[in-house]
């Protein structure tokens, strides 16, 4: 008796399963029945949402197998078995047993085509919009035969992660414990293969046949067929589906993995961002502490000593000795003791009396007390985040503390015109910003009614793309004029700026002189505020306009405003100010009569130059 191994492949491409997470599997990956015997194949319809109605069509090779029973309909000619079932009760899986008879021993596939699963809960939804979820991977068809030369029907295992625990039959790998296999083996015992059929088979499958003929009668037949190229048409038909679905499943899995990775990236970057923000917070705290420590260190008498020495050495000659002494003392006292205010006041009163002003009857409008402003500048500018991190890890990033203002105290009385001088970067603008309320000092305090303060700067908020007219309104609104006010004073502003013919021009076409004229006109259009701060306002424009603007400023001063003027033009200071404050490198050098202060300032400049030369 020639025993040929015939193999059936049960390929389970769940072609169209219209339900979420639904698939169809066979009870076992492969079956090895004996020829002429009946064996059972378990068909499982599974759906996570619960199986309702289902329709499965199983295709087989009618040359090798013969359908016996189990389905609700069949087409023996084409090798199709139909299982239509509406009795699903919402359980996760539904089992059908198909009984086949093995005609011959050969390779054969059993495959599921056109599967429809309707979930139990929503029988209508799934057909329309349900996602097609493929069933299983295409499997390498490894066939293991037994001594009895069985037919192997190789099924496809369910996806391991979707395998329900209550189904011992569902194995990703071929296992002998398989219930269906056992059943199959029980049934199929006598392999009786008609010769003609084998011949027919060998004609069609020479390769497989060759392999088979090598091992006739052997106890253990192991045939590995690389490709399930079996003859029935139905299988060929199913193949495209098979490949489509088979390939789409790993893709799906891949997508899942991908999205997991993406989510991981997202979470990681979010964490990194948070971490960075947290770091910068930390840094800020550290800096704050540093500043505090620094301020504390100022109370160290040694430091003050140094400071005083420095001061005395550098103190200019042109100042009266008594004043000099007073200032120095003032500085030191104000830094050491808590009752800064009274002392400063006394000092100033003395100064003012010396300068010839009556002191007591005047109202103090600005009081700068012991103001220190610390800026932190990074000494290293990283080129990017990566660089920043690297440098941070290496601890290369440090911050330089810049004392823009350093324990500055002075008072301003109503009606005064105070000139503020100092070299570039000495802290004048910082002082003005603090006075106007734009900055809060690191330590010290300032008393001023911010509502009364008006900071005049030129071209604040000018937009080059807008016309002069639009800029008048924009700039005016920022300065604090109401719309009514601007409407009313618009003509005055234009007239003062002498720009009557240019108001509809874009400001970008203006010369810098025109821009500053317009800026000045807007800035001074209003009724003078009680406290006016002029930041380099007076040094713009041509000679004529400067005169005109000076006149305007003087007008405002006579109107009773208190004025702070920042300027590099000594003449402006000398001509207009009643008192002068000299700030150098953040420290208050001198307060007093403009002439004296200016002389001292010039003197310093000269000595500096001399040293430089």
């Amino acid at each position: 008796m020639i025993i040929c191994t015939a193999v059936c492949f049960a390929i389970v491409p769940s072609t169209d399963v219209f339900a979420a997470e639904a698939y169809v599997t066979f009870g076992s990956e492969s079956y090895t029945p004996k020829a002429g015997k009946e064996f059972k194949i378990g068909v499982y319809v599974k759906c996570m949402d619960g199986v309702g109605a289902s329709s499965v069509t199983v295709g087989y090779d009618p040359n090798c197998l013969e359908y016996v029973s189990g389905g609700s309909g069949y087409d023996r000619e084409n090798g199709l078995v139909f299982i239509v079932d509406e009795t699903g009760n919402g359980a996760n899986s539904k089992k059908f047993m198909l009984v086949f008879k093995a005609k011959t021993e050969s390779f054969s596939e059993i495959h599921a085509v056109a599967n429809y699963v309707y979930t139990y809960d929503f029988p209508d939804v799934i057909l329309e919009d349900g996602t097609v979820i493929p069933c299983a991977d295409p499997m390498e068809c490894t066939i293991t035969g037994s001594a009895m030369a069985p037919i192997m029907i190789q099924g496809v295992a369910p996806k391991p992660e979707e395998k329900p625990e209550d189904k011992p039959e569902e194995k990703p790998d071929e296992t002998p414990v398989d219930e269906m296999d056992e059943q199959a083996e029980e049934i199929i015992e006598e392999p009786e293969v008609p010769e003609e059929e084998i011949e027919a088979f060998t004609e069609e499958e020479p390769e497989a046949a060759a392999e088979e003929t090598e091992i006739p009668g052997s106890d253990i037949t192991e045939i590995t067929s690389p490709s399930p190229t079996s003859e029935p048409e139905t299988i060929v038909d199913a193949n495209p589906l098979y490949f489509n679905d088979g390939s789409s499943e790993p893709e799906d899995e891949k997508n899942l993995n991908d999205s997991a990775i993406l989510m991981g990236i997202l979470v990681a970057s979010a964490l990194a961002l948070l971490f960075l923000l947290w770091l910068s917070r930390d840094e800020f705290k550290a800096r704050k502490n540093e500043a505090k420590r620094y301020v504390d260190s100022l109370e160290d008498p040694n430091y003050e000593e140094e400071n005083r020495n420095e001061y005395v050495i550098e103190s200019p000659d042109g100042v009266k000795a008594s004043n000099d002494g007073l200032y120095t003392e003032n500085d030191i006292v104000s830094e050491i003791s808590g009752d800064t205010v009274t002392l400063t006041e006394q000092e100033l009163q003395i100064i003012n009396m010396e300068a010839g002003y009556p002191v007591d009857d005047r109202e103090r409008v600005i009081s700068v007390k012991d103001v220190t402003m610390v800026f932190h500048l990074s000494t290293y500018n990283p080129s990017g985040l990566k660089d920043y991190l690297i440098q941070m890890v290496k601890r290369n990033i440090s911050y330089r503390r810049l004392y823009a203002l350093y324990h500055v105290s002075f008072d301003v009385y109503k009606g005064e015109v105070i000139g503020i001088i100092g070299t570039n970067g000495s802290g004048k603008s910082t002082l003005l910003k603090i006075v106007s309320g734009a900055l809060r000092p690191t330590s010290g305090s300032i008393t001023v009614d911010r509502k009364k303060v008006q900071l005049l700067t030129l071209g604040t908020g000018f937009d080059m793309e807008l016309t002069a007219r639009e800029n008048v309104y924009l700039n005016g609104s920022i300065i604090g004029y109401s719309k009514d006010f601007l409407d009313k004073h618009y003509n005055d502003i234009v007239k003062f700026a002498e720009l009557e013919d240019f108001m509809e021009e874009k400001v970008k076409n203006f010369s810098s002189g025109m821009v500053s004229r317009l800026g000045f006109a807007i800035a001074t259009a209003g009724d003078a505020a009680e406290i006016l701060i002029l930041d380099e306002v007076l040094s713009v424009g041509d000679e004529f306009f400067r005169k005109k603007s000076l006149a305007r400023i003087k007008e405002m001063i006579h109107g009773g405003s208190t004025v702070l003027i920042v300027s590099h033009g000594m003449n402006t200071i000398l001509e207009n100010c009643t008192r002068c404050v000299w700030i150098e490198k953040g420290e208050l050098r001198m307060v007093g009569n403009p002439k004296e202060v200016c002389d001292a300032y010039r003197h310093m400049e000269q000595t500096d130059n001399a040293v430089g030369a």
Binding site: D129, L266, S269, L273, L276, L277, S280, F284, F375, H376, L385, K433, S436, G437, A438, L439, R440, R450, K451, V453, Q454, L455, T457, T460, G461, D463, E465, L466, E470, Y473, L474, S477, I478, I479, G480, S482, K483, D535
Partner: protein, 258 residues
């Protein structure tokens, strides 16, 4: 200054002036100018409809309107937050010199986005008429949805503007985040087509909620469901409170750093 009221009036005036500057500036070099605010969403709508309407034929009726509703609201949100982010840094000089509350700049940016949105709405209303969307009373709820969107945007704007001062890279990060958010906002696809998990996430997305709100009351003539109101309100309040707190805490530091 006479009092708080005149102060507020003044701020309103400033915001309006700043806004008009932003808008003039935005279109300073284009010849069509502000008309682009109307044209742009319309053209985008045409393009997107061409591409996607066949794809989602079955699940979205009236794709152009579906898309346009989403796009306009998305434009409002992304425009407002994106420009508010750089508000403080861009107006650095003003911030230091002018005696204005810093809010003004952020609010003016959001207001700019709102004005822009107003122009976009011209296109929107036009399309509603062309596609014969029936007027329903629920359409009156549309401004409420916009209000939610505004409040939410202001909060996010505060947060971003503050952080941008210290951490300029946030601009790029936010750009990426916006892209993610946009695709999660179901602007041009139906939410039903997403897996259930993703749907849940999308349903939490505040921008999607705004869009959903608008679609419900404009396209479908329904009052948005309770959970939409609750979530949207929650997001808006949380955002503005959080943004304000951060901004307040950092206010002085902003001035030092800027």
């Amino acid at each position: 200054m006479k009092g708080r009221f005149s102060d507020i009036l003044q701020y309103v005036f400033v915001i309006r002036e700043l806004t008009s500057r932003e808008i003039k500036r935005k279109y300073a070099r284009s010849s069509l100018g502000i008309i682009w605010s109307v044209l742009n969403p319309l053209l985008m709508m045409v393009v997107m409809s061409l591409i996607f309407s066949t794809m989602f034929k079955r699940s979205i009726e009236n794709f152009p309107i579906y898309y346009l509703t989403g796009q306009t609201i998305w434009g409002l949100f992304s425009g407002a937050t994106n420009s508010a982010m750089t508000a403080l840094v861009d107006n650095k000089s003003l911030l230091i010199k002018a005696k204005l509350p810093k809010h003004t700049f952020i609010l003016s940016r959001v207001y700019t986005a709102l004005v822009n949105f107003g122009y976009t709405c011209i296109a929107f209303v036009l399309m509603l008429l062309i596609f014969r969307i029936k007027f329903t009373l629920t359409m009156l709820l549309f401004p409420v949805g916009i209000l939610f969107a505004l409040i939410f945007s202001i909060g996010v704007g505060y947060l971003l503007a503050t952080e941008y001062v210290f951490f300029a890279d946030i601009k790029y990060l936010y750009g990426i985040f916006l892209t993610l958010l946009m695709y999660m906002s179901a602007i041009f696809y139906p939410v039903d087509s997403l897996p259930e998990m993703v749907q849940k996430i999308v349903n939490m997305n505040p921008v999607y909620l705004m869009i959903l709100f608008a679609r419900e009351c404009v396209m479908y003539g329904r009052v948005p469901q309770g959970w939409v109101w609750i979530r949207l309100g929650g997001w808006s309040i949380a955002s503005i409170v959080f943004g304000m707190i951060i901004f307040r805490i950092q206010e002085n530091k902003i001035m030092q750093t800027i």
